[in-house]
Structure formats: C-alpha cells, structure tokens
Amino acid sequence: MPFRFLTVLVGLFLMGSAPAAPLDVVATSPSLGALVRAVAGERLEPTILAGPERDLHQLQAKPSMMRALRDADLVVAIGAELEIGWLPAAIAGAANPAIQPGRDGYFEAAAQVELLDVGGPANRALGDVHPVGNPHVDLDPVRMARIAAALAERLARLDPAGAEIYRNGAAVFAQAVEQRVADWRARLAGAPGVLLYHRDAIYLLDRFGVPLLGTIESTPGVPPSGQDLLDLTTKLKGRAGVVIQAPYQSPQAPAKLARDLGWRLERLPLAPPLEADGTGYLEHIERWVEAIAAARP
C-alpha cells in the first residue's frame, strides 16, 4: 500500500514537472489571459487567477495561486497596485525567484502605457485612492495593443524560439484593434455618456471621447449615501445616458438611479470570459461599445 501511494506520488510529480508549453505563464485577469493567447496563439496556455466577475482589488491570496505561481516563468499582472492586496503575498508564498518584481518573469501591463488619474492627492479621506494612476487599463483596446507589443518582446526574451510567433501575434492583434477602433469611434461619436459605479471604465471612455457623467460612489471604495444618489439624480435628470456597473458592485444604487433617470442599466464585467482570446477580448469591448452606443436620446 505505501508503495502504491509512492508510485502515485511520483507519477503526479512527473506529471507536474513535465511542461507541455515552452513557457508557463500566469495571468491575474481574464483580459490579460486573452492578451497572452492573442500574442502567443497555441504556443502558450495561460493560467488565470481570477474570473471576470471578480474584483481584482478585493481578491485574497490563496494556496492554489501560489501553486500556479510556483513554477511560472512569467506572471502577467495589470499592476499599478490593483492586485496589491493579494499578488505580493501570492508571489512571496510561491517561492519562485523568477517572477519577483524587477525580474524578467514579472510583467505589469499598467507599467507599459501612460496612465490616467495620475498624481492625485495621497489622502485616504478621498477613499481608496491610487496616486500612481488608475490601474484599469485593460478596457482600452489601443493601450492593450501597445501592451501586447511589450508582452511579445518580453515573451521573446524568455522564449527566443517563439519570438517570431509572439511579435507576429502582437502585430495581428494591433491590426485587429485598429480595424475595429474606426468603427467603434464612429458608433460612439456623440454618445451622451455613461454613469459608472467606480472609475473603472475611464480608459475606454477616454479613448472614444465618451463623457463620464459621474460615478455612483462619490468616494472610491465607499458605498454611496442617499444624498449622493439624490445629487446625481438632480444633476442628470432630463439628460440621456446609460448606467453601467460591474457584476461585483452593489446592484441597488445603480438600479435606483437607472429607474429614476429612466436610463438603461447594464451589468458588464470588466474582463472577457476566462476562455477568451484576442477575438474574445474584442468581442468583450464590442459589448461595452454596444451598451454605450445604445444610450442615444
């Protein structure tokens, strides 16, 4: 019996240590998982640490994450402190020197592009603020194309044999983005605007010049008060727009505002489904564009 147990253990060990792909890549969010697939195609299959319905800022470190990071060659994070509550702990617990920040195995998407909301006051009276910049870069397809190019270079450095595939993948993705952006820009021109729960879609709005009519939470990380909702209703009454919230945000306040303003309420995840690739990511943006464009008066 102990012998059989040992055989199973050794079998599992061999299974675990025989990598099928040239690189073991871990992505924190499905949008980055999609980007890895867009860049690497079939060559790499990323492990994704959180589903699209999850708030990446509220996640907790789990042993399964450490397990995934233990033999990762590269961790792809959104960064800019979005995953600060759990990723540092998970990376430390993974005992993998290759993926420490500062090494080739650590990639932050937000560090590859210019950020919005940079340099606000570091004052927690204003809520859970991040003076380093708004981290939600993954909703801007143009920035994502630039992140894909940087990611391709990083992958090429870690896996030179696949360099051509990665660079080509990034170029194809950039082209696909470019093709869609013109159409999206046309459809979103003159869109009346969006009321968000949190400033989590501003990169998309900023890209297409869609006005942000307000945020339901007046202070990041703090639920809105009745007065906040009243103020918003007074301010926006009679205008056109759409309320968009993420699935993990409290539904009552958005529903009430949508009702009072006579607007549509959309619940859209910030990230595409877990299995999405580059096309899946663009489909995800398409859903957002559709929701925003549908809000014409």
Partner: protein
C-alpha cells in the same frame, strides 16, 4: 524683469564714478556707453538663457525621474529599477515607445520601507469586574494546576510582561502595531513589527529576514517571528476574526502564541497540489510551552540551568487542493517539540499553611491539526463570502519530579496531556457586514499518567460577533461571549463578556497571507 534691473543698476554704478571723474572727451563717454550697452545685452541674454535652462530642468524633474537614458537603446540590458514614487508612472507623453519596465508601479515613497500603523482598541465589559479577560487564559489544565501562580511568581522574561488579553472593564487600548517591511536587496525581504501598548512599552513582535532568490521552492526565514505552526499562530491580533484569541492557543501557548527567535526553512515542492513543508529551529523562549524557570528558581528548586538553544523544534505540512477560482481549502498538520520544559506545581495540605512546591522538568510535545475553507463569492464588498476555520491542539508534557517536599515522589515521572479545539465560521451577510460564531474549548482530554483519570471536565466558550468593515482601512466589531471557565477542580466561573472593538489601518496597503 530682474535682468534689466540688474543691468541698469550695474550701468548706474559704473556711470556715476565715470561722471565723477569728468571724462575729458565726449567720444570716450560714447565709447563707454556702447560698451555698457553691449555688456547689458550680453548679460540679459545669458541670464535669459540660464532662466530657460532652469525652467526646462524643473519641467524635466517634475515629469518623472525618467529612467529613459540607459534603457532607451536596449531594454533587454538590465536597467536599474526605477525608484517608485507617486507620479513616477506619468511618462512623457512624447515618448513613442516606453522602456520595458519590470518592476511594480507603487505609490510607496522611494526606498522607504512600507510602513503601516494599526490601532486596536476596545470597550470591554464582563460580569465579574473585568477579571474574565485574564481568566480565559488561565483555565485549569492538568500540568498547569496553578498556571497563574506560576506565571505571576516566576515571570520568566521581562519581554513577556505585557499581555494582549489584559483588559479592564471599560475602555482599553490594546496596542498600536507598527509594521515596516521592504525588499532589502535582490536576496532578502525583511520586516519588523512593533507593538506599542497603552502604557507606552514597546514589544518587538517580529523582526525577520526572508530569502527571495533561493531555487527549488526553498525559502529561509530568520530572526524573531511567529511560527508557521498551525494556522492562527502567525496571525497578528488585527488579522483575527474575533477580538480575542481562542482558548486552545491562549492556554496551551499563551498570549503571543509560538513566537520565538530562530530559523525556518520551508519547501514548496513542484507538485500538482499545493504542499508546503517546513521545519523550524527556535531558541525556546516561549511563555508556556517552551518555558524554563528563572535562574534563582532553578537554583532554589534544584533544577538544571537553561540549556543552550535551540531547544524548540517544529515541523509542519500544509496541503491545499485546487478547488477552482472561488473555493480554497487548506489542511495542515504541525508538530512542535520542546527539549527542555520546566514548571512548578504548588499544593497545600489540609490544616497546613505551608505551600508545597514540586519542581518538574522534562520535554514537551505539541500536535496541531488545522483546516481552513474559504468561499469567495462575487457579491459586493464581501457579501456572500464564507470562511470556516478549525484547529485542534494537543499538548503532552513528559516531566520528572526533580524536587519536592515529599522525598518519596522525587524522580518519578508524570505525563500531562491536555488538548484544545476551536471552530469558527464567518459569513458576509451584507456588503461590508460579517457575522461570526466561534466555539472553543480546552481540556476535552485531561490526563496525568499514574493518577486516576481527571474528570473535572473542560473550559469552553461560545462567541458571536458582528464586524462592520467601513472601508478597506477601518473596521468596527461587536462581540459577545458566553464563558464557562474551570478555575479549580470543582470551581467554575460562568460569565458573559462583551466587546466593542475598533481597528484602524494607517499607511500602506498591505497584503494578507492566506
């Protein structure tokens, strides 16, 4: 315009003496004038030039501590990590291709350690004049028949003079916990945790270094730290889900748990299932499980002097199957061995006033089994989240009687076995609101070898609490506990205890381990 005033001043200063000496020829004066004019324009141009350069430099430094120069040509060459600071991520909009940046964007100030202060205070009330908070840590157990006498009379170490559980009825400030952590260099991370108590005394809770570059899933930690024995042991009080520590830990390990100085080695092998194996060698300065007596007491009672360290060893294993993105389960087994344990048991005889002291010395073992399950719902701000946590501890002390007023028992051996257990569950019933329930017990088993079975029963407690997390940085908690604590063989103290607690987290946004 400052430069022109300067030039005018200069000109006047020069012309006045010139006029004073009554220049003989007007031609000379004209020449002087033109020279001055020339000088003036030159100075103005130079000063203007300097001002422009100053403005440019100011703009550059305000924009970013740009890492551009060394990395611009070849990003593959190792570049110095940019000192992270607020605004560092505002790259020049003109840069068409940014350097590949491998660090983490952070709002932490450049090169300062991450600093946080956690304030932990409460209002406490029990029905027995505030003595309940100390009593829960002094429940009767076979080996520590006079655990509190022992603690008070023979405080082994001034370090342990403070107590996290020492509360009065009314307002209490438990502690301000200061923590500093940073990456030291590519090889080490380090952290220090200081607890400042309400009297102002400072207690070093932890100060350790940990490797970050060892291969094969190995990590070494050294210094003073909370052992990875069990699950609750390495949590600081602010991370507890209840205001106070459970009875098993409080009575078998004391206020600080297994907190000692030494070295830890952990190994995370490359297995399909998360498996962490660890071993620790610790000095053995532990308040209960690792206790030895003071020099005077050792001499007076004829006990051996405290041996050289390390005297306390631990082994632990934690296994966590992958249950998908929303569920997490971890099971752990821990073992600790203390190679030198000393304690004093006191007793009196009917009709005599004299207190008899038996001094015992030997070894002590501690076993622990723990299980934690967490469910992460997608509800807003913790709504629907669930956590279940349970641990079982069993302490076995194998001691010889070294001295006693009763010579016939000297040299005889006593094995004391006590165990403890707790189970707690937390549920996020609304956004930001969590309800918790805990049952903890000490002494399911109480045995002394040689003696008849001890059937005085166990000490136990039920606790209920309600936590309101106003934001990520502050929380308020109300807790009620129904205590049934065994204080002597046939004496129980039954009382209610009520807590209102605040926890404030100032400073950097830390990450909690699982």
């Amino acid at each position: 315009m400052r430069p022109s005033i300067l030039a005018a001043g200069l000109a006047t200063a020069l012309t006045v003496p010139a006029a004073a000496v009554q220049a003989s020829s007007t031609a000379e004066i004209a020449e002087l004038r033109s020279m001055l004019e020339q000088m003036r324009t030159q100075y103005e141009r130079r000063i203007q030039d300097l001002e422009d350069r100053l403005v440019q430099a100011e703009r550059r430094s305000a924009r970013a501590p740009a890492p551009a120069t060394p990395a611009a040509t070849d990003p593959a060459i190792s570049q110095p990590m940019r000192a992270p600071s607020a605004g560092a991520s505002a790259p020049a909009a003109t840069a068409s291709r940014l350097p590949d940046f491998r660090g983490a964007l952070s709002s932490g100030a450049a090169f300062n350690p991450q600093i946080s202060v956690i304030l932990n205070g409460n209002y406490y009330n029990d029905g027995i004049d505030g003595s309940g908070a100390a009593l829960v840590g002094q429940a009767l157990q076979p080996s520590g028949g006079s655990a509190h006498d022992h603690d008070h009379d023979h405080a082994q170490d001034a370090d342990h003079g403070h107590s996290h559980g020492g509360l009065n009825n009314g307002f209490n400030f438990s502690e301000a916990e200061l923590s500093f952590s940073a990456t030291v260099d590519p090889y080490f991370d380090a952290a220090a945790y200081l607890a400042v108590m309400d009297e102002g005394d400072v207690h070093l809770e932890e100060a350790w270094l940990q490797t970050r570059a060892l291969p094969y899933g190995l990590r070494v930690k050294a210094g003073k730290f909370l052992s990875d024995f069990g699950y609750a042991n390495k949590q600081h009080p602010h991370a507890w889900d209840f205001v106070d520590q459970n009875l098993a830990y409080l009575n078998l390990l004391g206020d600080h748990g297994l907190q000692d100085t030494g070295v830890q080695l952990t190994w995370l092998p490359e297995l399909p299932v998360y498996t962490l194996l660890g071993v620790e060698a610790l000095q053995g300065d532990q308040e209960r499980f690792g206790a030895t007596l003071s020099d005077e007491d050792q001499e007076r009672l004829g006990l051996d002097a405290t041996e050289d360290g390390p005297r306390l060893w631990t082994l632990f294993a934690k296994v966590a199957p992958d249950l998908g993105l929303d569920h997490a389960l971890q099971v752990g087994v821990s073992y600790a061995r203390n190679t030198q344990h000393q304690e004093v048991h006191t007793h009196t005889h009917d009709g005599e006033d004299e207190i008899h002291e038996n001094a015992l010395a030997g070894e002590a073992d501690l076993w622990g089994v723990d299980l934690v399950y967490k469910y992460d719902s997608s509800g807003p701000q913790g709504q629907g989240d669930f956590k279940f946590q349970t641990e079982y501890l069993r302490s076995i002390k194998d001691l010889d009687i070294q001295s006693s007023p009763h010579p016939e028992i000297i040299g005889s051996r006593r094995t004391f076995t006590t165990d403890g257990f707790y189970a707690q569950a937390l549920y996020g019933f609304a956004p930001r609101w969590t309800a918790g329930v805990r049952y903890d017990v000490l002494g399911l088993t109480n045995e002394v070898s040689g003696d008849a079975h001890l059937d005085y029963g166990s000490s136990n407690r039920w606790s209920l609490n309600l936590t309101w997390k106003l934001s990520e940085f502050s929380q308020l908690r109300a807790q009620y506990a129904r205590n049934d604590i065994l204080v002597a063989e046939n004496e129980r103290e039954r009382f209610d205890a009520f807590y209102l607690q605040f926890l404030m987290s100032l400073g950097s946004h830390g990450a909690h381990a699982f």
